[in-house]
Symmetry: C2
Subunit: 152 residues, 2 copies
């Protein structure tokens, strides 16, 4: 049996179970290494755009509302990507076994994170720097708590 087909069915069940925030079911990848690369790649693109927003929030770079909205859009869409690539059989990279051993916690954390990044995108669309600062701070704290728990 193809383990990715199994993970896809499991993913659908999980996606239905976790409620209002839409997270894709586990995607099928040609090989586990592709899944690892997919989550690492989407995390990296997200982090780079988040870092640009954080630099604006901290006054390290000039605030540009148009650019901020673009970064917010990319960060929000990328925040939806990694979770589909944590299916069974894709252990590796910096991922701790806890992701698979206590998967409900990980699902909850990923759902919370998407909400934080959506709030950040909404803030960037408002063009209000104070809102962006607050949303960057909230999302950044969420990054850290999830990394502390689930990343080596």
């Amino acid at each position: 049996m193809n383990p990715n087909r199994f993970s896809s069915k499991l993913g659908v069940a999980l996606a239905l179970a976790i409620g209002s925030v839409s997270i894709n079911a586990y995607a099928q990848f040609n090989k586990p290494q592709d899944a690892i690369k997919y989550r690492q790649s989407s995390f990296f693109v997200m982090q780079q755009n988040f870092a640009r927003l954080a630099a604006m929030a901290q006054g390290k770079t000039p605030f540009n509302a148009k650019e901020a909205a673009e970064y917010g859009q990319v960060a929000s869409l990328m925040a939806r990507q990694p979770w589909q690539a944590f299916g069974p059989g894709t252990e590796g990279g910096k991922s701790l076994p806890l992701i698979w051993n206590e998967n409900a916690k990980f699902q909850t954390a990923s759902k919370n994170f998407i909400q934080k990044m959506d709030a950040l995108q909404a803030a960037t669309q408002s063009g209000n720097l104070d809102r962006i600062k607050a949303a960057v701070s909230a999302a950044g704290a969420d990054c850290k708590s999830c990394h502390d728990a689930f990343r080596d």
Copy 2:
């Protein structure tokens, strides 16, 4: 002088010069390796979503209009990302020197590619599989021609 600051200014000029399709100016990265990783990561996320659409277009996986629209959205947004990470001083990876030596050609190719991926996104939003097949074929041919010219 920080080469990234130079590349950022050059990027603005190029972005203004190439017309109607918006391509970000060269972004500032902490180090050249981050720029290389950014373009590789965004290409990979794009390619994976494009491959899912191609599989639907070829009948290898069942057509699902909702999923197709999601993949089209990711592919289109990712198609805008790599180009900001080809600034001066970021040579490396599989990139051929031609990208920097004949940059106007590369800019034109990247602009054409974004248009193809935007057409693909529009096709996925239409929910019309025949339109998606045509757009996948056109975008795939564009991937290949650009890789043949600019990638080792």
